[in-house]
Point group: C2
Chain length 311, copies 2
């Protein structure tokens, strides 16, 4: 989308900010939060459009089905909540009715079954040429477990789960016609950190959390803005098997970005690994500067701060 997307979203938020919230917390996180007594319901929605978010020639229908679910589940897990259900809307041109639609549903179903997520509603309709998919994911958590972007504290360790960069490396592979690399497959499928998000949600020493959808160089800003803090990140600490640009400005890794009380980082990392098999790596600290400092081997460096753009 054009640059105007962001001012458009800003305008919408401003316009609707004046209306009653009816119990929902203000917009700003991966999901909207509806407190209901001791429990919270979280909800998120994502739209995937053919030729913007996926190409029929480059992704199989099963992969699109799986990824449609996963990107939404990821937002729920990033709040510390357990994904419980989805609603799926799908608009299908004639060329995608039949085989494509069935394979899409197979991918969506298999991922839903693996994640223990119900399909509780939806809509199917025709479209003229392009496929449009909208998924809503719903999660539940004890209210005390909900992790927000606004909860980072000065001195917190900034951490990421797993390794970064594989998805954007995969996208570049696909653009060069290498559809079958490990990275290309990772890009087309996506895997949400569901168990990790729920586990981290239950820890009091985990403060802010979100998923990495646009790349940390862009996503860290959301935590800084909403927590009113700064950040210092050591590039050499970022866990990746690829070029550092993929790991910082590339998107769609769906790993978790979180801040942890500094005295707890080792115990949280150890216990998370034991519980889920997933690593947690400290890549920097939250500061009080209001801006982000990038270090390379301890020395200040510049990072080309381009956000991740869908092809």
């Amino acid at each position: 989308m054009k640059k105007s997307e962001f001012s458009f979203i800003g305008d919408i938020a401003k316009l609707f900010g004046a209306l009653p919230h009816n119990g929902f917390e203000p917009i700003g996180d991966d999901c909207t939060v509806l407190p209901m007594g001791e429990e919270a319901l979280v909800m998120t929605t994502d739209m995937l459009i053919e030729d913007i978010h996926f190409l029929r020639g480059a992704s199989s229908a099963e992969e699109v089905g799986e990824k449609s679910l996963m990107v939404n589940i990821s937002d729920v897990a990033a709040m510390g909540a357990k994904p419980v259900a989805t609603l799926l809307s799908i608009a299908l041109p004639e060329s995608a009715q039949g085989e494509w639609a069935e394979a899409f549903m197979r991918g969506y179903y298999e991922a839903s079954a693996r994640e223990g997520v119900a399909l509780v509603g939806g809509d199917t309709t025709a479209s003229r040429d392009k496929i449009a998919i909208n998924v809503v994911a719903i999660g539940r958590a004890p209210m005390a477990n909900i992790k927000r972007r606004s909860d980072a504290k000065v001195g917190d360790a900034i951490c990421v789960t797993g390794k970064l960069g594989i998805s954007s490396k995969g996208l570049v592979d696909i653009m060069f016609g290498d559809l079958n690399t490990v990275a290309a497959k990772a890009h087309r499928r996506a895997q949400a950190r569901t168990a990790e998000g729920v586990w981290l949600g239950a820890r009091n020493d985990v403060h802010a959390m979100m998923d990495i959808s646009d790349g940390i160089a862009s996503d860290i800003n959301h935590i800084m803005e909403l927590s009113k803090v700064g950040a210092r990140v050591e590039l050499n600490s970022i866990p990746t098997d690829y070029d550092i640009r993929y790991a910082t400005t590339g998107g769609e890794d769906y790993e978790l970005l979180l801040t942890v009380a500094p005295e707890s980082i080792e115990s949280v990392a150890k216990a998370l690994y034991e519980a889920t098999g997933t690593s947690l790596t400290k890549i920097g600290e939250i500061t009080d500067t209001g801006y982000v400092e990038w270090l390379e081997g301890g020395k200040p460096t510049e990072l080309e701060l381009k956000g991740f753009t869908h092809f």
Copy 2:
């Protein structure tokens, strides 16, 4: 969509039926229902695709915005629940970014403000040529107020709010190029029976309820199937200012179709009118036959049972 839409939906429901429901009631109503103690949350989603559900040349952007909200709010109200919030996803081709998008949001906002509904999340993205819109509406109600399609009882009076047929008459007007008739405007805008749905939800003598989106000739089947009953409908009783075909097989009126304990029909109609200014008309009875009988002046008649098809 092709005939296969229905078998596709059936296949999906069967496929996912085996998964855990995670507290949600089974699919079948206007909304999915999530019981949370004494209270229920209801949710519904609808996708609107350019050139399938609306034409940019025939509807203003404001009207599309308003209608996108209203058709979803209508499903919430039809469950007896109060609409509290929506999530909005919108995919915009370059030609609709800027002016069209702003006018759409204005229409969506004004309808949201009038209905007291918050916007709590969403997604905006680009698309190649056509506009795609997905709305999720969320409602709340005391669990005891939730009205289902499965609750009709033999002997119940079958009733409708307001008058039927104006929307499909308006669609025909639009197809003939008469964009400015009263009916054409009603078709492009839609008005959900929100206050009426909430009011009827609180009545124990109101049993099954749904909104009329495909025309009563088609919608009555949902109540019959889920309640395992039959129906007898008197065509002369159907409140309409138009040809009876519009009022029976035309869709998108968004009036409420409900069944009422026979002894209560007069008191419910009177009290509803006093509370909301909206009429309630008895058009038939629930029977035990398992099929629908159409009467005209008390005599059996045939109705051409074509469902409503979007242009």
